[in-house]
Symmetry: C2
Subunit: 216 residues, 2 copies
């Protein structure tokens, strides 16, 4: 079974079962612009894979694992669409079409990076809610380094910056689970921090992208 195709079915079934009812063969076929016999056939395969609950003449339902996969694809779609529209300025309709294709090729770890890049958005350009991902949960337990006050201490948790900045920060010792203390907040909103015994100045923009966990 082709991965993209299975994903399309799962997405469609997720959509059609939103109201709690089982998805009918006919409706799945219609939504995917294919004929009902193709659906019957595929539902058997998806059932064998443990992705849908299905018995002939009774429609289909997602199993927990099928639902999880479907939701993950949907989230990929929404984050891609958000990125295309909000960051690149692609038209909403075109972005939707393109996200439909790209959602099957982007990896889990890359969507998480896009999510962080977009600041863990809660809404898609089409106004649908975007479910939280693992990156959102983590980010919620953290505060940007830029919001720390003088004298406070924190543990570095997530650093989401481009690769050259990342290399620079790594060379300074900015790794997850390392302790930093804020020595001074400069008027430009730059920070003077102490890390591994060295005092380092960090610009406002970068400090905003370093998420830390306050130490009480």
């Amino acid at each position: 079974m082709r991965k993209n195709i299975a994903e399309e079915y799962l997405e469609t079934i997720l959509y059609l079962t939103r109201d709690g009812r089982r998805a009918k063969t006919r409706d799945i076929a219609q939504a995917m612009a294919i004929k009902p016999p193709s659906v019957s056939e595929m539902l058997l395969k998806l059932r064998d894979q443990g992705l849908v609950e299905y018995a002939p003449y009774e429609g289909a339902l997602l199993t927990p694992s099928g639902r999880e996969q479907a939701q993950q694809i949907e989230r990929k779609h929404q984050l891609l669409e958000t990125f295309l529209v909000d960051t690149l300025g692609v038209e909403v309709d075109a972005a939707h079409e393109e996200a439909c294709e790209m959602e099957h090729t982007i990896s889990e770890s890359t969507v998480e990076k896009i999510c962080a890049y977009l600041g863990h958005p809660r809404l898609c350009p089409d106004a649908h809610a975007i479910p939280k991902g693992p990156c959102c949960e983590k980010a919620e337990m953290c505060t940007p380094l830029s919001e720390m006050k003088e004298g406070e201490e924190a543990i570095i948790k997530i650093v989401t910056v481009d690769s050259s900045t990342k290399d620079y920060l790594l060379s300074l010792g900015f790794l997850p689970d390392v302790l930093v203390s804020i020595k001074k907040k400069l008027p430009s909103n730059s920070l003077l921090v102490r890390i591994k015994g060295a005092e380092i100045a960090i610009g406002r923009d970068i400090a905003h992208k370093i998420l830390v966990c306050k130490v009480m």
Copy 2:
């Protein structure tokens, strides 16, 4: 013939003919991890589509139209890879793999937007040169609004900003081919410009993303 698959063949042939020699069936098969008979078969189809020059036992060569398509995919790949690595901080190897998939799903117009977003980069993270696209040519004939001097006038050409900023600028009349004149350059590098009779302040960051053509 599936689009993605044809594209994979074209890319492979482009790569294998870099040295001027014709691509051998065996080498194409090896590069694509498939068997030679599959290649022979597909080469006939690609020939019928006018994408490759091919005669049995003589290997394959790209036609002008095939070469153009192949180069376009290659450029998509490189820009995606650059984006993944430089902007999102994805590991180089993972980015390469992912770009291999995504290159077939991203549209021409969206790659152009990514290219502009990245500032028309000339090099890929893997050190290969990225060929110029139409957006690069246009951008070369323009200067960022932020580099204009007080008293100068210019025609707006390309505005590459996120969608909310775009809406804001549109409401002010920042459309292509509209004339702006720089009234004052503020110490913060913000600009006071005159557009359609109104005086408007534009921040440094936004001014950098508005490309204009100087009027002498």
